[in-house]
């Protein structure tokens, strides 16, 4: 079964709006990093944040006390529905499913909530904050804002979770009682996350992200949301979703990526939207790509956006759809030119492009892939 992309919403560190962000990427622009601090530590981290203008005008009673992740998701979800020309009403509210992909979730409120417990004791714990710490709080807010009354799922995973959500959408859409599936990926940044990823030797202290570098200097975290409306008909289709699997050690990532690529490249592939982000992922992906799809162009957006973890997969899908639609690829920024891959180092026309693979290798042992086609 193939599903089609009927609408898209993009909340990124380069701003919001699919066309506006896409144009900036084509121009070779990248988001500006800011630093983030913490009251009990001296260390500063560089991050790519969402400009306030990107979520301007998004208001709802449910969002009054909600965390940033919920606001990003609401903005992306509303944009996607609007671009699909879809208005939810009680009569069709059951016929759309919502799948929400996250990795770290509402970490800012979680930290605040636990900070009160650690600092003052359990009696100081806030009953207002606690519900916002639950993984499905952003999905719950979004469902309430949109009026979804049918299936709502929150999927948790690493950077590959957005593509797992596409697989799940396929599984749900087998049910003919559903007309649409709104798939949203969202993430918010907190100092705590940066510190955790640094201790895990995956973070670099300042930009740029250098994809496919020989030295794995690390990634910079970012935040935001991506949303797509999946329907049964449309020009850009999710032709095949490979649910992937897990790798036990980082050294094993390459094998599972090859398996995914072999399955998805049974037909000619014009380009691949990779998840290369300056970490161990890059080597695994470059080796797998060079062996399985040596002729495909390879693009990664992470030097421009940062590593969005739970939202990254949706960002990649939107990129692939835009590239298929506009027949161009943006330049890969800060890349190692000597890597044996076909990287578009400048804005590159792809007039005959018909098919693309979105590949995701997560930082926590999960990998998945999706093939898109334009008809």
């Amino acid at each position: 079964m193939s599903l089609a992309i009927a609408g898209m919403g993009w909340i990124t560190p380069l701003g919001s709006g699919v066309n506006s962000v896409w144009e900036q990427l084509l121009q070779g622009e990248e988001a500006s990093a800011t630093t983030i601090s913490e009251q009990f530590a001296d260390r500063l981290y560089s991050v790519f944040r969402i400009p306030e203008s990107a979520i301007k005008g998004i208001s709802h009673p449910r969002l009054r006390r909600a965390s940033a992740i919920s606001r990003f998701a609401a903005a992306a979800g509303l944009h996607a529905l609007e671009s699909a020309g879809l208005k939810l009403e009680p009569r069709n509210a059951e016929r759309i499913a919502l799948i929400f992909a996250i990795s770290n979730g509402g970490v800012s409120y979680t930290k605040r909530f636990y900070h009160e417990i650690v600092g003052t004791g359990a009696q100081a714990a806030s009953p207002l904050l606690f519900p916002e710490t639950v993984f499905n709080a952003p999905a719950s807010h979004l469902a309430a804002i949109l009026g979804v009354t049918g299936a709502t799922y929150t999927l948790v995973g690493d950077g590959a979770v957005g593509l797992a959500a596409i697989t799940m959408a396929e599984e749900l859409m087998v049910n003919e009682a559903l007309d649409y599936c709104l798939v949203v990926g969202a993430e918010e940044i907190d100092w705590l996350l940066c510190d955790a990823y640094r201790r895990w030797r995956l973070l670099r202290m300042a930009p740029p992200i250098e994809p496919f570098s020989n030295q794995n200097r690390g990634m910079i975290l970012s935040e935001g949301a991506g949303a797509i409306v999946l329907a049964r008909d449309g020009f850009v289709t999710i032709e095949r979703a490979h649910p992937g699997g897990h790798f036990r050690r980082r050294a094993d990532a390459e094998e599972i990526l090859k398996r995914i690529l072999r399955d998805l490249s049974r037909t000619e592939i014009d380009f691949v939207i990779s998840s290369a982000n300056g970490t161990f992922v890059d080597r695994a992906e470059s080796q797998a790509l060079a062996e399985i799809v040596p002729n495909a162009l390879v693009y990664t957006v992470k030097p421009a956006f940062g590593e969005g973890v739970g939202t990254a997969g949706l960002w990649q899908i939107i990129l692939a759809a835009q590239a298929l639609h506009s027949k161009e690829l943006p330049p890969v920024l800060h890349a190692n030119h000597s890597v044996p891959l076909r990287l578009p180092l400048s804005r590159t026309p792809i007039p005959s492009a018909r098919r693309a693979i979105v590949l995701s290798c997560g930082l926590n042992q999960q990998a998945a892939g999706v093939r898109l086609a334009i008809h």
């Binding site: 650690v118 999927l155 992937g244």
Partner: protein, 418 residues
């Protein structure tokens, strides 16, 4: 995937067998101990031992013994680094694989709410308090929600992709229900479904801050109920295309026949008071199974024992069903959040296999506002052909699954039977 695409069909839904299961909870390690605790209506809620609760209203929880849990996995490489949740997942998968060593899942669907939360807590306490952070990389690596699933898969050489569903307290039932749909649609033939959660201070304090947990006994549906107690555990079920299971001679423990899901959007923590969300989930499960309410012999309720949940669920059950026996087994083991739906699916499985109704313990006084046929305080023998299990979670997410005895007892005529 290639095979799956060929099989996909909505016109002729496959029947779905439960061919193996594994469970760990305060009721015991494994199916046999769980059955014994259920038959004896054992209240397994005990004073909290895992962390200090001196500032909390609630002082008790359903707890899984660490000594026993960790001792049974001493041979696993680096087992000391794994989170307790990983050990629980390994335990239940081991029990399942012992029953069905040839079961090769194409997909795993697992529910959780907290992942490796207690490792996150240790990291934060050490970081903010200037403590020892030498083990921080281990805590961080074992914190993600998918890690216990991957750890368990690795021990048994399973490489199937995994959906980790975090739909709050409905996660386990959503996982079982979605897995059921995946097999029924023909997209997959063998799916492992389940849930896990381990007690964590932050979550315990969170429910306490909401005054949702009780300093007293957990008394679901009792007029004098004062709230929930938390629990922990894990469970997995092997779901398989029934025809395929029969062809390979696998024992069919029960048949999964229906799943319903709804979102009521009423409030982030409270259910819609009329019970409409719960009712829709149950109605959709009945519709999915193509049976009527009168065919259900037992309901394992969500039954957290909070005033609001039990009132809403009670209204929904009494509106749909005519005095069907109802119990909340959370009264015996606490509420294990993301694991609850999976553990309670196993409870239903045992009820179907052994023809009894699990008890709702600590029940003293019926609630005049909800007209329910509570299985009060003692398990009792009964003819149980069909069981319904409910789970409802924060954010207004509601889920119900239906299971049927296999082979079905004679005397109840329905179509499409074996």
């Amino acid at each position: 995937m290639a095979q799956a695409d060929r099989r996909e069909s909505t016109n002729n839904p496959a029947r779905v067998a439960v061919t193996a299961a594994g469970v760990i909870s305060p009721l015991g390690f494994g199916l046999a101990e769980t059955l014994e605790s259920l038959r004896n209506a054992r209240d397994c809620v005990t004073p909290m031992m895992r962390f200090s609760v001196t500032q909390c209203r609630c002082k008790t929880a359903g707890q899984v013994s660490d000594a026993r849990l960790l001792a049974s996995h001493a041979q696993i490489p680096r087992s000391g680094r794994l989170h307790r949740a990983s050990h629980m997942m390994i335990q239940v998968l081991q029990e399942l694989m012992t029953q069905q060593p040839e079961f090769e899942p194409e997909l795993m669907v697992i529910g959780t709410t907290s992942g490796g939360m207690s490792y996150g807590e240790r990291y934060y306490r050490s970081l903010s308090g200037g403590g020892d952070l030498r083990h921080a990389p281990t805590w961080i690596a074992n914190y993600p929600a998918q890690k216990p699933v991957i750890d368990a898969q690795s021990v048994f050489g399973i490489s199937a992709p995994c959906h980790v569903i975090a739909n709050a307290c409905a996660s386990g039932t959503n996982a079982v229900g979605h897995a059921f749909e995946c097999v029924r649609s023909g997209r997959y033939q063998r799916v492992l479904a389940g849930g896990y959660d381990a007690l964590a201070e932050m979550v315990f304090v969170g429910f306490d801050s909401l005054q949702a947990s009780t300093p007293e006994k957990c008394r679901p549906f009792d007029r004098h109920r004062t709230g929930m107690v938390l629990g922990e555990g894990a469970a997995v079920l092997a779901l398989e295309n029934l025809d395929v299971a029969r062809e390979r001679g696998a024992p069919v423990l029960a048949e999964m026949i229906g799943y319903g899901i709804s979102t009521d959007n009423f409030h982030i923590t409270q259910p819609e008071p009329s019970g409409i969300g719960a009712r829709q989930a149950m109605e959709r499960a009945l519709e999915s199974a193509d049976i009527c309410a009168g065919d259900v012999d037992y309901i394992n309720a969500h039954g957290t024992a909070t005033v609001f949940n039990d009132a809403a669920e009670g209204k929904a059950i009494s509106a749909l069903f005519n005095r069907v026996p109802v119990s909340s087994t959370k009264s015996m083991m606490g509420h294990s959040l993301g694991a609850a739906g999976a553990i309670e699916a196993v409870v239903c499985l045992l009820a179907l296999q052994h023809q009894f109704l699990p008890a709702n313990v600590n029940f003293t006084t019926p609630d005049d506002d909800v007209d329910l046929n509570i299985v009060a305080n003692e398990a009792r023998s009964a003819v149980v052909n069909t069981a319904l299990s409910n789970s409802f979670g924060f954010g207004g997410t509601n889920a119900s699954v239906l299971m049927r005895k296999y082979p079905r007892l004679s005397g109840r005529s329905q179509t499409g039977d074996e």
